[in-house]
């Protein structure tokens, strides 16, 4: 299915037809999922819901990375 990740079109093929947020993070090689927040169709997801939130064709997914620097 086609989805949009961080503004770029992407194509993913779920093995068993379904893919949750944790699996998407793994597929996209986000090695430290703890360092990102995930927004699905402009709604921020609770981390606890990653496992039972599934991606659908046409979804817009944003990985929001923590950036802590202010170079102070």
């Amino acid at each position: 299915m086609k989805i949009i990740i961080n503004g770029k079109e992407d194509s993913i093929t779920p093995l068993d037809g379904k893919i949750n947020i944790n699996e998407l993070l793994a597929i996209k090689n986000v090695e430290m999922p703890d360092m990102v927040s995930v927004e699905l169709n402009e709604v921020i997801l609770n981390r606890a819901d990653f496992v039972n939130t599934f991606i659908n064709h046409g979804d817009r997914v944003e990985f929001l990375y923590f950036m802590g620097g202010g170079a102070a």
């Binding site: 402009e42 981390r47 923590f66 202010g70 170079a71 102070a72």
Partner: protein, 275 residues
């Protein structure tokens, strides 16, 4: 408008703008902005806000200038090494524009003092370098109804979001501190100086446009910037009903201190940032 001749000349390029004019310049002169952190983000913000004639500018930092700061913290000079950053920054701002009042604050903001430090300012700029401070500033500003600009940078990347009461706050997007060790700091990961400069100036622009009431602020929009590709992306967002500080069932009712030293973070997989 009651401008002196010196003011009319100094601010002539502001006043010439239809969206600013004498009325806008008066708003700037009557306004106050607090900059937290006299570092990579705070340096350009402080210089530009002083130059623009923001009448009162507070600059908070409890640290001293180090040689390794000078690559990006352009308000400090080589001769300032070992001086308190707040004092060094205040001196440059006064030299640039003696017509503005600069208030250096040589304290570390904690849950116990942040409310009293921010309360008299119209707008707050977060230029800090660590997550405990970023969350503390967010919570204090949200609870106090203070507009503020979040800024974060890493290597070639930056992000910024503006909060005004009712818009999405930093915690709406990033609910809790990242686990210790997952996000590298600038001290570990490095930062190209201009990245801090560009982002700090965007934060200063937010402060100015907030005061002037012109244009569109980065509210409910997180700006991501990649200075390797010079790509800017704005990500639409909205207040999160589950936000612990501004949501429906809020659990944070006063500012909280978190323990996480700025430089306790490890290197590693977080190196990959795909904007």
């Amino acid at each position: 408008m009651d401008f002196t001749e010196e003011q009319v000349e100094r601010y002539s390029r502001n006043i010439l703008l239809d969206d600013v004019g004498g009325t806008g310049q008066r708003k700037l002169l009557d306004s106050s902005v607090l900059i937290i952190g006299a570092g990579g983000l705070g340096s350009p913000a402080a210089l530009y806000l002083a130059a623009a004639g923001v009448g009162t500018i507070g600059i908070v930092d409890d640290d001293h200038v180090e040689l390794s700061n000078l690559q990006r913290q352009v308000i400090h000079f080589t001769s300032d090494i070992s001086r308190p950053k707040a004092e060094s920054a205040a001196e440059k701002m006064r030299l640039l524009n003696p017509g503005v009042t600069v208030i250096p604050v040589m304290e570390r903001l904690m849950a116990g003092n942040i409310v009293s430090v921010i309360k008299d300012y119209d707008f707050i700029i977060d230029g800090t370098d660590n997550f405990p401070s970023k969350f503390l500033i967010n919570d204090a500003c949200v609870l106090g109804g203070k507009p503020f600009s979040h800024g974060g940078i890493l290597r070639f990347y930056g992000q910024t979001l503006t909060y005004v009461p009712g818009s999405a706050c930093y915690r709406c997007l990033f609910q809790t501190l990242p686990p210790r060790g997952t996000v590298p700091s600038c001290g570990e990961a490095g930062i190209l100086g201009v990245v801090a400069g560009i982002l700090g100036m965007i934060q200063a622009s937010e402060a100015l446009r907030y005061i002037l009431g012109i244009g569109e602020l980065l509210t409910n929009r997180l700006l991501y910037m990649d200075q390797l590709t010079v790509e800017f992306r704005k990500l639409n967002t909205k207040p999160n009903p589950n936000c612990p500080v501004c949501g429906e069932n809020r659990t944070i009712l006063e500012p909280v201190d978190y323990e996480q030293p700025a430089c306790s973070l490890k290197e590693g997989p977080a190196a990959k940032v795909n904007l």
